[in-house]
């Protein structure tokens, strides 16, 4: 098992340091009797093959790929920092670099979807909990659907509905009153729809966890609070919410991680033009005719670093708890 986990990571890091060999070019003079001599540059097939066989991984370029235009783009960032007056312009120029564009969307998505779905999940859990016993099962069943359905399929279903010819898109057109209105045309609206999808997809998870938490509520405390004259709102505020707090942290954490790797909705919504994420960049580099392993590997390493940064507070806390237990 460790082999399968560690090996690809090592392989990714290795690949990210290398770049494929360029073809070996030689200049050849070909002379034909009629048109005279021309100097041609052709690919020396033998030499290229030899070179590729000698170093199958490619050229060692160190961290160069990390700093090129497709990734951290240090040179471009430095230049736009020098040229632009004011932060606004600087940000605008950053948005043209693929890595920062992806980062911008990934982070926005992560930090908007996570709190929204926690709140929605909480509200659903409270509402379902006050329902009649027989209704609960049915409601839970339907609530689970958006979560269990394949992310790509779920996003496709929503995407078809918000298509300007689909029912939601049609309704929006009607409400806006502009027959050419389309969610797909504008970056901002595309982001909004992706975020709506994200909340739709993840809220059931939060709901189920919170609902389970509500089943273990300390009834004595609530009764005590009521006897002390707490209103309904105060009971929720001072007894129920503190009880659910650890669950909120847990859900928020899992969702931070899940949202950080947002990928399928972008494919499903066909939104590459407006929103990309780190995962999507890797996918794009790997697919297609030219499989750019080095570029993809570099993005992967950067993503792993991002995940590590995101996880570090959690890991530190778990480690402390673990030590305390010992």
């Amino acid at each position: 098992m460790l082999l399968f986990i560690a090996a690809p990571i090592v392989s990714v890091v290795l690949q990210s340091l290398y770049t494929p060999h360029g073809a070996v070019l030689v200049e050849v003079e070909t002379c034909t009797p009629l048109s005279g001599c021309i100097l041609e540059t052709i690919i020396d097939q033998d030499a290229t093959r030899e070179l590729r066989e000698a170093e199958p991984l490619g050229q060692l370029v160190g961290l160069a790929i990390y700093f090129d235009r497709g990734h951290l783009a240090l040179a471009e960032v430095a230049e736009s920092w020098r040229k632009s007056d004011g932060l606004g312009e600087f940000w605008a120029s950053l948005r043209n670099l693929p890595f920062y564009r992806a980062m911008a969307f990934t982070l926005t998505f992560t930090f908007i979807v996570t709190p929204l779905m926690v709140i929605l999940g909480l509200v659903i859990a409270f509402a379902v909990n006050s329902l009649h016993r027989h209704l609960k099962g049915l409601v839970i069943f339907f609530s689970l659907l958006p979560f269990t359905v394949t992310p790509l399929i779920g996003s496709l279903i929503l995407f078809w509905m918000i298509d300007s010819r689909g029912i939601l898109g049609d309704a929006l057109v009607y409400m806006v009153g502009d027959p050419n209105f389309s969610l797909k045309a504008s970056t901002g609206l595309m982001w909004v729809s992706l975020i709506v999808y994200g909340v739709w997809h993840a809220a059931p998870f939060a709901f189920v966890v919170f609902y389970a938490g509500l089943q273990t509520l300390p009834m004595e405390q609530i009764e005590a609070a009521r006897i002390d004259g707490a209103t309904r709102w105060q009971q929720v505020r001072y007894v129920v919410v503190p009880h659910l707090m650890p669950l909120v942290t847990f859900v928020a954490l899992i969702q931070l991680m899940d949202n950080f790797r947002v990928f399928e909705p972008i494919v499903g919504f066909n939104a590459e033009a407006h929103a990309t994420s780190l995962s999507w960049i890797i996918f794009n580099d790997l697919g297609g005719e030219t499989r750019q392993f080095s570029a993809a590997a570099t993005s992967s390493v950067l993503t792993i670093v991002g995940v590590a940064i995101l996880l570090s507070p959690v890991l530190a806390r778990t480690w402390r708890d673990f030590k305390d237990k010992k």
Binding site: L152, V209, F260
Partner: protein
Amino acid sequence: MASGVNRKPVGFSLLTYGFIVVWLIVAAFPFIWTFWGSFKVELDFFSIADWTNSIFGRRTEMTYGTPFTMAGYEGAWIKKEFWRSVINTGIVCFFVVCSSLTIGTLGGYALSRSGYRYTFWLLIIALIFRAMPPITLVSGYMLPFFEWNVWGILPTTIIVLVAINQPFTLWMLHSFFQNIPKELDESARVDGCTQFQAFRHVIVPVMWPGVITTGLFSFLLAYNDFAVTSMLLSEENRTMVPAIAAFLGSTYNEGQIMFAVAAVVSATVPLFFLVMFFQRQIVAGLTQGAVKG
């Protein structure tokens, strides 16, 4: 909370019921809508003229004589050979679930009964794996796979999926086995069983709830995966999800979007039944990690 003493004001419960209804519509309506629409022609599913067309299927009636048509399904399953992807998905899911469960049960049992505290490290690995996009690992797998010439076939994909899934499975089963009292297999050992016999005759009969829950999640992972399968499988070995994604590539040109709609519905139906029959296990699995913290 709904005890007799704690009566709710009428307005409050009305609000609650209203909210539940809205949520149910939000959660279920897209599925119902797509299911209904999958029996229509494209001009009804994407209706420019009048949205009621997509409910009553007027264009479909004009084309086929009835408001319901299986044309989308026929195109997807027969013309585009979607059944191949369904079989592939079946194979992948079956083997992923079986192998993760075999490794997970034996490993989880062993870990939970051994003295050393693996829990922390297991938890950490499971956590990191949960956080890492599978696609970052795929890019590491791909080049070696090309070189060994094992790219594009089902077994490699199964192995990769199992590997990605394993820390999670191990962790879940491990915490489940820790809940089975040690005294059970200790008494079996006292009665003269070997460790393996204790496992076979004492633990196996009581372990099914945990195994089913874990198996469900492995199944969902294998079934829902897009990143790994789309990258590691060649065209004829595709599973359902990448096959649907591939439909889209061609559908936008050929106007055969109904094939994709039909395929999407076909792929959702098994999940629907899965949730219906295993709702309790899914809820248990989702909450298990949370409640233990």
